[in-house]
């Protein structure tokens, strides 16, 4: 059975939630420690949410130097699915594996709430099980989720269909309402919403499962 490796830095806090949600779909997931240099033979990597290294300096700015990130970058180049959720998205942009950056929310407060997320492209390692235009009810939980990039990058993201998820009602000021993007090879995906938090009927939504199932199917 293929396995998803979920990276744990000191300060990561969504790693076990991610494992639980993947297991809930019948998938298999295990924790990868940030100081490890090999990926223990996993078939996909999720960089989970939280505050890696306390988010000190800038979210993701220290995490990208953790030993495991070299292996993650190599795996990404080889085509392995790599998904960054929330803080994981910030880490992937800092590591240069995804374009753009995440700055502080417009309004300058932390926001935790359910948001309607629209699937813009089903051609990525995360969105393959969804349908284009589908609206998903998934929570966001961040202070620095305001996606930004220069005009040329935005144009190229649009031209190459790399904007995979957008907010229906932009909560944080992200350019182009962007909630998630992929790289040009489409195997690396970053998103600010937390699909694992919408994975059980008792949590108010199961819409996140369509994304996590997409990841399992992309392996």
């Amino acid at each position: 059975m293929s396995t998803v490796g979920v990276v744990r830095f000191p300060g990561t806090n969504c790693e076990f939630d991610t494992v639980e949600a993947i297991a809930g779909l019948g998938g298999s997931a295990e924790i990868l420690w940030h100081e490890d240099t090999d990926l223990s033979g996993v078939d996909a990597v999720v960089i989970a949410g939280g505050f890696a290294h306390g988010d000190y300096l800038r979210p993701g700015a220290i995490a990208r130097f953790s030993p495991i990130m070299t292996s993650v970058a190599d795996a990404a180049k080889s085509g392995m699915p790599v998904v960054g959720i929330c803080n994981g998205f910030q880490v992937l942009t800092e590591a240069g594996l995804l374009p753009g950056a995440l700055q502080k929310n417009r309004g300058l407060t932390f926001i935790n709430e359910f948001q309607a997320i629209r699937v813009e492209s089903t051609n990525s390692a995360l969105t393959g099980a969804a349908t284009e235009g589908q609206e998903l009810d998934i929570p966001i939980n961040h202070f620095e989720g305001n996606y930004t990039c220069d005009d040329a990058t935005l144009a190229s993201l649009r031209d190459n269909d790399q904007i995979v998820l957008t907010y229906v009602d932009n909560p944080n000021g992200s350019v182009g309402d962007i909630a998630g993007v992929c790289n040009d090879a489409r195997n690396v995906v970053g998103l600010m919403p937390h699909p694992e938090r919408a994975s059980h009927a008792l949590l108010g939504s199961e819409d996140g499962n369509v994304l996590l199932r997409g990841l399992l199917e992309a392996i």
């Binding site: 505050f51 306390g54 407060t109 932390f110 008792l202």
Partner: protein
């Protein structure tokens, strides 16, 4: 003549004499400073202990009662729940962000010290009026502090309360409640046992921050002619990332069975942690003050012993396990130092280097057990001049009055992560929070839920602290019932004014009596608590504000509870007695009427109302549920209409008393027409009266013959109260 040192440290002359008697000699300055922090009001509860002894604390499911770091109850399936409430009122008044942040940090350590992983936080907050600029500044700072620390440390904040009232101007209340879960067998106590065992201090380095926090800050009020900023160095600064690593390191130490006892460092720092563990274990301890890892090199021994630097723990470890403990700490980038040894006898000795000069030599238990116990004078305040709301004229425009009472607190809680750990079934903004109960190490879902709520109502307690506190306990029981949970136990935070004022002590004593009465009648043991006194500014005591944090449990959860939102076309009924009387109501207080009497509380009826509510919620027979609390029936129904996005046509509410009375033991229910018969039969079989109120429909909120307003207007008023006062989005 120069002031004697003991007075400068906050000790009375009598207390200084007692210390000399205990030691059989005069204490040296280090010893005196250790007594001064441990015998402070904050650490010793010297004014309140005599009253707290009356609270009921036992039940078969209680594993650990008051006196430990947290109360612990058995919640089945091999899981124990640890919970506690604390206050960080005075630090938050001076330095709102750090005061509130370190409050979160402190309560988390109390929970994981017991071996439990913290899974939820709640913050009952009280600020001065929204019209007051400083109060708004405090509110914004406190909420950012809780958000900044709590989100980063990775523990969801699932509820609490936010109240603005002029009684808290200059002295806000920042209470914090935390719940954790552990495998029952992992329960550890803060005891130092086993001669030769090693005391390891781990976490942040010790600095000069927070020296005398408990005595300078927490055990005195605020004065206008004093510059509060002068107290700022007594406020500690928090580092949530350090705390997060500390949590993970501690839980791994406990999982591997590497510690004999463990204790967090909070108020009074190392002095408290070393003496408390030694005295609980009936042992002594030798502490090498030079072994403590320091933030700056030139700290005096008394500073090392009393510093309140945050994010520090003390573990008692068998010598054979020391290396593994240090290794695990290193994995989590947590600094650790062996600073002491458990010894025979009961002396706590502070040494200047290994085998070095003895800097202090005192009986460890004397810092706790010999602390002074005061039976301070009490006097019932003269309240004869207060206005009785029964005599107030009926409102000209009850709809306008009702809208004035609406306040949405989502500006506060949308800044908190309320969903981490995938447990949150009902989060902030409802009557109580409901969390899935999963085994903390195996992750196995029990299928049951834990309900938690915090409640307090100073409007009730200023009118009658005895019944007001009883009603507070009763409301918590009903809040839990609204999510289908039956109460197991509570913790309390008693926020009162200056204990040297006889009126304050009378209020405290009355509140304890009211809580005792309600806890016995409703079968809710008290398993822990905190007392916060000297909540006063410029000679003005706050209204008495006892706050309870209550834990309950549901049976098997087949579906989530309905929440408070009404469903179009469904019936609206009130479960419980009709109730009347405006004493203590929010409406009356808005008109300056703080007199009169509180409505009656019938415990037997209350228990039956709670039981029917739980049965209806867990049986899926109601589509909306909300108890009647502050603001009365009018506010409860309007909040349900706003949450559901549908109007209401109601009858049988004939006057403003019926609209605004906060009489207890009432729950508003939304019921599908087909379920009405079943619901009415269930209530009747339990002897609980029902009032058919009306129907959820349309876009207006109408109480026939009394009120008719637009739902859209009410929604807009509700949502804008806090943001427009703060001038934010």
């Amino acid at each position: 003549m120069e002031e004697p040192l003991h007075r400068a440290l906050g000790l009375t002359d009598d207390e200084a004499d007692s210390i000399a008697e205990i030691l059989g000699r005069d204490p040296n300055p280090l010893e005196l400073s250790m007594y001064s922090v441990m015998w402070s009001e904050h650490c010793s509860y010297k004014s309140s202990r005599i009253h707290l002894q009356r609270l009921p604390t036992e039940a078969p499911w209680v594993l650990v009662g008051p006196g430990e770091n947290a109360g612990v109850v058995d919640v089945g399936d091999g899981i124990a729940a640890a919970f506690r409430i604390e206050s960080h009122n005075h630090p938050s008044a001076i330095e709102p962000y750090q005061g509130a942040a370190t409050g979160v940090g402190g309560i988390l350590r109390d929970i994981f010290t017991m071996g439990a992983r913290p899974i939820a936080i709640m913050d009952p907050l009280r600020f001065g009026s929204l019209d007051d600029a400083r109060s708004r500044w405090i509110a914004e700072g406190v909420v950012s502090g809780i958000s900044g620390y709590g989100n980063s440390v990775g523990v969801p904040n699932v509820g609490g309360e936010t109240v603005f009232d002029e009684t808290y101007t200059g002295n806000p209340l920042v209470n914090v409640f935390c719940l954790g879960v552990m495998p029952t067998e992992r329960l550890v106590l803060g005891e130092a046992t086993g001669v030769g065992n090693v005391a390891i201090l781990f976490g942040s380095s010790t600095g000069r921050d927070g020296i005398g926090g408990v005595s300078v800050l927490a055990s005195a009020g605020f004065d206008e002619d004093e510059d509060d900023s002068s107290k700022r160095p007594s406020v500690q600064v928090g580092d949530p990332f350090e705390e997060k690593r500390l949590i993970e390191a501690c839980l791994e130490l406990l999982d591997e069975g590497l510690v004999v006892g463990i204790q967090d460092l909070g108020g009074a720092g190392l002095c408290c942690a070393t003496s408390e563990t030694a005295s609980r274990g009936g042992m002594g301890m030798d502490v090498d003050v030079t072994a403590v890892h320091l933030r700056q090199a030139d700290l005096e021994p008394f500073e090392v012993m009393t510093s309140e630097s945050q994010e520090r723990m003390l573990a008692i470890v068998e010598p054979a396990n020391v290396d593994r403990v240090l290794e695990l700490c290193a994995k989590w980038e947590v600094t650790a130092s062996a600073i002491g040894t458990v010894v025979e006898g009961g002396q706590l000795r502070i040494l200047d280097g290994p085998g070095g000069e003895i800097l202090a030599d005192i009986p460890a238990s004397s810092l706790h057990d010999a602390a002074p116990l005061y039976d301070r004078p009490m006097a019932e305040p003269d309240r004869s001049a207060e206005i009785d709301p029964a005599g107030l004229a009926a409102p000209e425009d009850p709809w306008a009055d009702l809208c004035d009472l609406l306040m949405d607190t989502s500006w506060v809680h949308r800044q908190y992560d309320s969903q981490l750990f995938l447990n949150t079934i009902i989060g902030p903004g409802d009557d109580a929070a409901l969390l899935r109960l999963k085994h903390p190490t195996t992750g196995v879902d029990t299928g049951r839920g834990l309900g938690i709520t915090t409640d307090g109502n100073h409007h009730w307690c200023i009118v009658d602290p005895h019944r007001g506190t009883a009603m507070t306990v009763a409301e918590a029981v009903l809040n839990l019932a609204c999510v289908g949970a039956k109460p197991l136990a509570l913790v309390n935070n008693l926020n009162f004014g200056n204990p040297e004022h006889p009126e304050t002590m009378w209020q405290l004593s009355q509140a304890v009596d009211g809580m005792t009465e309600a806890c016995e009648a409703l079968t809710v043991p008290v398993v822990g608590g905190n007392v916060s006194l000297y909540n006063e500014s410029n000679g003005h005591n706050i209204d008495p504000t006892p706050i309870v944090g209550m834990l309950g449990m549901t049976g098997s959860l087949d579906q989530p509870p309905p929440g408070m939102g009404l469903v179009d076309g469904h019936r609206l009924i009130v479960l419980g007695p009709t109730g009347s009387g405006l004493g203590g109501s929010l409406w009356a207080r808005g008109r300056g009427a703080k007199g009169g009497a509180l409505p009656e509380l019938d415990y037997d009826m209350h228990l039956r109302v709670a039981e029917v509510t739980r049965a209806l919620v867990s049986g899926g027979l109601v589509s909306a549920v909300h108890d009647v609390g502050a603001g009365g029936l009018g506010v409860a129904v309007t909040e349900m209409a706003i949450a559901g996005g549908v109007g209401v046509i109601a009858a049988r509410v004939s006057d403003h008393d019926a609209l605004f009375s906060e009489a207890p033991s009432r729950v508003v229910l939304g019921v599908a027409p087909d379920d009405m018969g079943t619901v009415e039969n269930m209530a009747a079989s339990m002897g609980v009266p029902i009032t058919r109120l009306g129907l959820a429909t349309g876009d207006r909120i109408s109480f026939k013959g009394l009120v008719d307003g637009s739902l859209a207007d009410a929604t807009s008023r509700f949502e804008s109260t806090i943001p427009s006062a703060l001038g934010v989005e």
